[in-house]
């Protein structure tokens, strides 16, 4: 275009690659796209392989950053002003109620999505250490486990910010459980709250963690998580495609004339390229356009669903935090209710001795589960073929145990959410509940 002046088309130039080479260049040269693969197998693009749950989680996180970024301008992290500033967001800020509703529902959805993502990775054996040369998927699994805990941390710290009764007592219960750690429990609680009770220092700590510290870790680790996928040779399902291509190649060697046409762009740097290229090429397509289109579509859908839910289910704001009035029962955030339920089950009386289940149910059990999750890639002895395959027969037993534990946690969460009333006694959801009285 040199010499013939400026054309508005220049704005769009480069966005429509015309050859596979240009498509690959766009991925390699564009900062935003460089995390995407140059080529992608059709199986990785399919919905069934992964459910695209990681992408969905990432996009929910983006929605949270967008809405949270605006809320940062409106919310005041002081115990005198926090509640009133949330009321103002609800009642006088333009689009405020929508913004807050969307932020809240997205936070709940992200917890759900990140857990589903983990379940998918487990059931497809995608964390397995047997991979292409240079790949080490367990590392990304560990990053993922940390990302999940960061998600819980973000949700938990955000819970306190409205400074209403729900916030105050959920955090009181949550930090009491953390305080049951033997020997250092009180110190842990003190570190979290900056005092003996939930007060101004706790609010400030949770605010800084929620708005700056945890998101910073999150963003860094998400980037690392995605980069690791490239370093591990793409999704685990790709390993299967590569292996199958190799099998076929052994039977019918490819014509050498076809090996470089499609794979030239990749320069032989990743796992796909290390395999017989002509056969693999048949199974794959240029990554850029397909993935960008898919990713943008998922982002739009996620943003739209979060926005619509934010409109349909506006966030509640209970009475202002009141240390003198304990709701009965005081419940932790829903995703921790299976732990609170465990604590209550494990708390019982033998004669005159009260056995406190806080440490057992609230610290030890989740600690063991997280430890098991983290070490599982090293303990899993299933063969390499089990990676990237749903419910591989060789992993039948571990899948069953995993699903059983998951099922138990889900059941306990449902019980804790819907079937527990005053004094953590059993109630039926349809029983009339009087709540507490009103003033007049």
């Amino acid at each position: 275009m040199s010499g013939d002046g400026w054309s508005p088309r220049a704005l769009w130039r480069g966005f429509f690659p015309e050859t596979p080479r240009e498509g690959a260049d766009a991925i390699v040269q564009n900062f935003l796209l460089h995390a995407l693969p140059v080529r992608i197998t059709r199986r990785a693009l399919s919905w069934l392989a992964t459910g695209w749950l990681g992408t969905i989680t990432l996009h929910i996180f983006l929605v949270l950053c967008l809405t949270g970024g605006v809320l940062l301008f409106l919310y005041v992290p002081s115990i005198e002003r926090a509640y009133a500033s949330v009321k103002d967001i609800e009642y006088v800020v333009s689009f405020g109620s929508w913004l807050r509703g969307t932020h809240r529902i997205s936070a709940h959805l992200m917890v759900a999505a990140v857990v589903l993502h983990l379940v998918r990775v487990f059931l497809t054996g995608a964390y397995k250490k047997e991979g292409a040369p240079g790949a080490f998927r367990p590392l990304n699994w560990w990053v993922g486990v940390v990302l999940m805990m960061l998600t819980f941390g973000l949700s938990f710290t955000g819970y306190l910010l409205p400074w209403d009764q729900l916030a105050y007592w959920a955090i009181t219960v949550g930090t009491q459980i953390a305080g049951s750690v033997p020997f250092v429990g009180d110190e842990v609680r003190m570190l979290m709250l900056g005092g003996d009770t939930v007060g101004q220092s706790a609010l400030l700590r949770f605010y800084v963690l929620h708005c700056f510290v945890l998101p910073a870790f999150m963003i860094y680790l998400i980037a690392y998580h995605m980069w690791r996928i490239r370093k591990d040779g793409g999704l685990a399902v790709t390993d299967r495609v590569v292996a199958e291509a190799r099998e076929t190649a052994r039977v019918a060697p490819p014509s050498p004339g076809k090996t470089y046409t499609l794979m030239g762009a990749t320069q032989g740097v990743n796992a796909q390229a290390a395999s017989p290229a002509s056969l693999l090429a048949r199974e794959s397509e240029a990554g850029g356009v397909s993935i960008v289109r898919r990713t943008v579509a998922i982002f739009l859908i996620v943003l739209a669903i979060c926005s619509l839910l934010g409109l349909a289910m506006p966030a509640q704001l209970e009475e202002p935090a009141n240390p003198a009035v304990t709701p009965n029962p005081a419940k932790a955030p829903w995703y921790f209710l299976w732990l609170q339920e465990l604590v209550s089950i494990l708390t019982f009386r033998i004669g005159d001795t009260l056995i406190d289940g806080s440490f057992l149910g609230g610290v030890l059990v989740p600690g063991i589960l997280i430890g098991l999750l983290a070490s599982w890639p090293l303990l899993d002895r299933s063969p390499a073929e089990a990676a990237g395959v749903w419910f591989h027969p060789s992993r039948k037993r571990q899948n069953r145990v995993f699903l059983l534990l998951l099922f138990a946690a889900v059941i306990l969460t449902i019980i804790g959410t819907f079937f527990r009333g005053p004094y953590w006694m059993w109630v039926w959801p349809w029983d009339p509940s009087h709540g507490h009285a009103s003033w007049v």
Binding site: E285, I298, I301, S307, H436, V440
Partner: protein
């Protein structure tokens, strides 16, 4: 070119369009809610009433947009005047339907609206800008508007029920002008000294609970008997308790006094007003005032 024709191109494109459409719907709903809020309809209503009764010129003076009375020393903001724009318009709108009705001007003398706001006396949620929330008829709002309908549940008139909020500031056992129900209760309440300690009055040998701050006891602390029918409120608990102490508090040593329901309501409101008062000096009434 063929290399870009993904097997998923068509279905993904449909997804892209669906996402865009859904997003437009969401933005559309949010936009409509933003430009046509509930309070704008109320302002239109007031506009129409003023136009009809006082003419277009007067109607043009009405404020638009969210209105608020901010009383910094009390840390209160009341947005009631967003809909009730004409509360200070005097006799001309004294009989007009709500939300256009003006406030009786007499009470504004001692309680100018710019330094007292609305909810301090009326109850309700000053922050809110929609009718249900502002009138406090929503979950998690503890101080509803003390309106005629609510007063009827206790066989009281609206002004009688509102004496509760008068008494939040006008404390003490001296009679106060404009609080007939509580003044009558204050005459009776000295009999309670036989057993109880009352606020500001010493009792050397109280044999019953100290009632000095009874009004601070949170609703969640009140226990209603099994199968209790009727209003589950602190006010009703006290009324029923005054009428028949053992019914509400089994094993209580308090005798029945044979009070009328109205007397019981007056005493109940008085007891509920016994709470600490946290007012800047300029807002604190003198004794008996």
């Amino acid at each position: 070119m063929s290399d870009f024709s993904s097997r998923f191109a068509r279905s993904d494109f449909r997804l892209l369009v669906a996402g865009g459409v859904l997003l437009l719907i969401a933005f559309g709903i949010a936009f409509v809610r933003e430009v046509d809020p509930e309070w704008a309809d109320a302002q239109d209503e007031v506009q129409a009433i003023v136009q009809e009764r006082l003419g277009a010129e007067k109607a043009a003076e009405l404020p638009t947009g969210i209105q608020q009375i901010w009383i910094e020393p009390l840390d209160r903001v009341d947005r009631c005047t967003t809909c009730h724009t004409t509360i200070e318009w005097g006799a001309e709108l004294a009989e007009a339907p709500h939300p256009a009705r003006s406030h009786p001007q007499g009470l504004f003398g001692a309680h100018p609206v710019e330094s007292f706001g609305c909810t301090l006396c009326h109850g309700g949620q000053g922050w809110a800008t929609s009718a249900d929330a502002a009138h406090g008829n929503v979950a998690f709002w503890e101080e509803p508007l003390l309106d005629t309908e609510r007063a009827k549940r206790y066989g009281l008139s609206r002004s009688e029920l509102m004496e509760l909020r008068c008494a939040y500031c006008h404390q003490g056992l001296e009679p106060v002008d404009g609080m007939p129900l509580l003044n009558a209760a204050k005459e009776k309440v000295f009999d309670c000294l036989d057993c109880h300690r009352l606020p500001g009055l010493e009792n050397d040998k109280p044999s019953a609970p100290d009632l000095g701050r009874e009004g601070e006891k949170h609703p969640s602390k009140y226990i209603f008997p099994e199968g209790f029918e009727g209003e589950r409120s602190v006010l009703n608990w006290h009324i029923e308790h005054f009428l028949d102490p053992k019914k509400m508090s089994p094993g209580s040593a308090m005798p029945k006094f044979g009070l009328s329901r109205k007397d019981a309501a007056g005493l109940a409101l008085l007891v509920m007003s016994w709470r600490r008062q946290d007012l800047p000096a300029a807002w604190t009434p003198k004794t008996g005032e």
